[in-house]
């Protein structure tokens, strides 16, 4: 089974995230970057499917700046077999539609994929639609927000869990599956895994290599543009009192003064 995992490098959420006021883009230099936690879970899911299906191969695909190689290394040290990194200056400023188009093109360069795994939602853009968009472009089914994945021969069944409820979905392979937060606990890379990752193949593709028209991506191909981005003034601290047996009453008095009760 040929499994592709879409991974994204994101700003570490322990650091403060900013939008650049000049172009409304995520200021990626202001923060440390890590492999998104949800993508570690997607890699874990891929490895578990690989382990249950002999002769499988896991390919990690990412689109992002040069330093996204760190995210790739993490996925490889967990146990993925190889990686494809789409990186090109012209990709900067890509919106969701062009990102999905570019990813679909790159997935097409991976020989005979059976299953594409992704996170349900990235922690920076939080679009939550890239996997479905990629599936639509590839003409394959999208089974998203998976809590459980069962691969059985040529079909896949997913227990999809969202705020609105649980849906059991099934489809023939190839298919795109996105995983939710509760799918699994990702493994830590072992020392052996980290050493082995250094020798695993990483193919770097430019737009031209991947056959993508530079006019369709990045700022040039943007279907929408951010016209302004302003930080909201942070909320400042109000009154703080120490409970002397009347803390609850004091809150009640405050709520009354604010007409909240």
């Amino acid at each position: 089974m040929n499994i592709v995992v879409l991974v994204k490098q994101v700003p570490d959420t322990y650091s403060e995230r900013k939008l650049d006021a000049s172009d409304g883009r995520l200021d990626r230099d202001a923060t440390d970057a890590v492999l998104d936690e949800i993508n570690e879970r997607a890699v874990e899911a891929a490895l578990q499917i690989k382990e249950a299906n002999g002769g499988s191969e896991v390919t990690v695909v990412t689109m992002g700046p040069d330093r996204a190689t760190e995210a790739i290394r993490k996925a490889l040290s967990m146990g993925a077999d190889k990686a494809v990194h789409l990186t090109d200056g012209a990709l900067a400023g890509s919106d969701a539609v062009s990102t999905a188009k570019a990813l679909a093109k790159v997935i097409g360069t991976v020989d005979g994929f059976d299953l594409v795994l992704a996170g349900n939602e990235a922690s920076d853009g939080r679009g939550g639609a890239t996997p479905a968009m990629v599936a639509d472009l590839l003409g394959v089914p999208a089974l998203t927000h998976a809590r459980e994945i069962t691969v059985d021969g040529s079909s896949v069944t997913v227990r999809r869990e969202t705020d609105d409820g649980v849906t059991v979905l099934t489809a023939e392979l190839p298919a795109v599956v996105s995983v939710g937060e509760k799918i699994n606990e990702p493994r830590y890379p072992s020392f052996k895994g980290i050493m082995a990752a250094k020798k695993k193949p990483v193919t770097t593709l430019s737009l031209a290599d991947a056959g993508i028209d530079a006019g369709e991506v990045g700022s040039a191909g943007a279907l929408s543009s951010v016209t302004s981005a302003q930080p909201k003034p942070p909320k400042s601290a109000g009154e703080k009192v120490i409970d002397e047996g009347d803390g609850g009453q004091k809150i009640a008095a405050f709520l009354v003064s604010q007409k909240l009760i």
């Binding site: 890239t130 999208a142 998203t144 409970d243």
Partner: protein, 318 residues
């Protein structure tokens, strides 16, 4: 005036409130046309409510197809072609974002996701609130018929009657390359308001200490008619179910009043609640970062303070 397509979100024969918000927002861009996709017999149950909330036209797309979300995408894509709408509005739910994203890919439209407001005039633009409200960004569409998902609760419903003229739409046959729905179990809401829609939220953190002790959080919530939330630490410790997690990897809430009990106020938690109008914090630790954003804070034991507050609230209710 040009049409604005609004995808109707419905469950068990009822229109969801978020759809009325879409109809209200749509009026600032053009004439709202509601699009009902569902099993045969669905539209007749929904039409009256849609018309009462401003739908000028109701497109009825009824089908027995069981492929997941694809009928909605197919129907909207066909209507974008035939009606040339100013925009397509969809609720920013998990399903809505997927439908909208797939539609944008097919129609070559801008995808403006999870917006809190829309504006017409010289093209269509939208307002985003990102990183838990830390930034406000304006974006404009560079294409015709942008596909926009609107965050539930962001727009106040203003009901204005519309003509509600029904028009049947033919639903194309399934392509065979979709996912099939085997079964569905909707989440059964309890008696408390829905977390993301509630005007008051009472949340508990690791400081609550156990699943049993969450009764203190629930007790205060019920006195206030509030929804209950939890920090990730409380969820990970098994005190409260995951669907109630507030924060960057949970729900984003923006109620009139947010009460944090035994929550330290980590940046990832704040990302999900810092746009609340009024924030109250109770924490033993005077240095807890939650106090930095609290309008009123009590340094103390939540097991003392919360029950007392509950009593005060009950007293005032009489």
């Amino acid at each position: 005036m040009a049409e604005v397509l609004v995808l109707v979100d419905h469950v068990e024969g009822e229109v969801k409130k978020s759809t009325f918000e879409l109809l209200t927002a749509a009026r600032s861009l053009g004439e709202p046309s509601a699009v009902v996709v569902g099993a045969p017999g669905t539209a007749q149950k929904l039409s009256a409510a849609l018309a009462a909330n401003g739908a000028e036209k109701i497109y009825v797309a009824e089908t027995d197809r069981t492929d997941f979300l694809t009928p909605q995408v197919d129907v909207l894509a066909a209507l974008v072609g035939s009606a040339s709408p100013t925009a397509v509005l969809v609720s920013a739910s998990a399903d809505g974002k997927e439908i909208a994203g797939r539609l944008a890919v097919r129609t070559g439209s801008a995808w403006l996701n999870d917006v809190i407001g829309v504006a017409g005039g010289d093209g269509v633009s939208a307002t985003h609130s990102v990183f838990g409200g830390a930034f406000i960004a304006e974006a404009k569409s560079n294409t015709e018929h942008p596909v926009i998902t609107l965050r539930p609760g962001a727009v106040d419903v203003e009901a204005t009657a519309g003509a509600g003229t029904e028009q049947q739409v033919e639903v194309p046959a399934a392509s065979g390359r979709g996912a099939t729905v085997q079964s569905t179990e909707p989440i059964v809401g309890g008696d408390r308001p829905e977390l993301t829609e509630a005007s008051v939220v009472v949340s508990g953190g690791r400081g609550v200490g156990s699943a049993d002790d969450f009764a203190v959080v629930e007790g205060l919530a019920d006195a206030l008619g509030a929804a209950v939330g939890a920090s990730r630490a409380a969820v990970d410790s098994g005190y409260y179910p995951h669907q109630f997690q507030v924060g960057q990897t949970g729900k984003t809430v923006s109620p009139q009043l947010y009460i944090a009990l035994g929550i330290s106020g980590a940046i990832q938690h704040r990302a999900g609640m810092q746009t609340s109008k009024t924030i109250i914090a109770v924490n033993k630790d005077a240095e807890a970062p939650i106090f930095e954003i609290a309008d009123f804070g009590v340094v103390g034991d939540l097991f003392q303070v919360a029950p007392q507050l509950k009593e005060e609230v009950a007293k005032r209710k009489g």
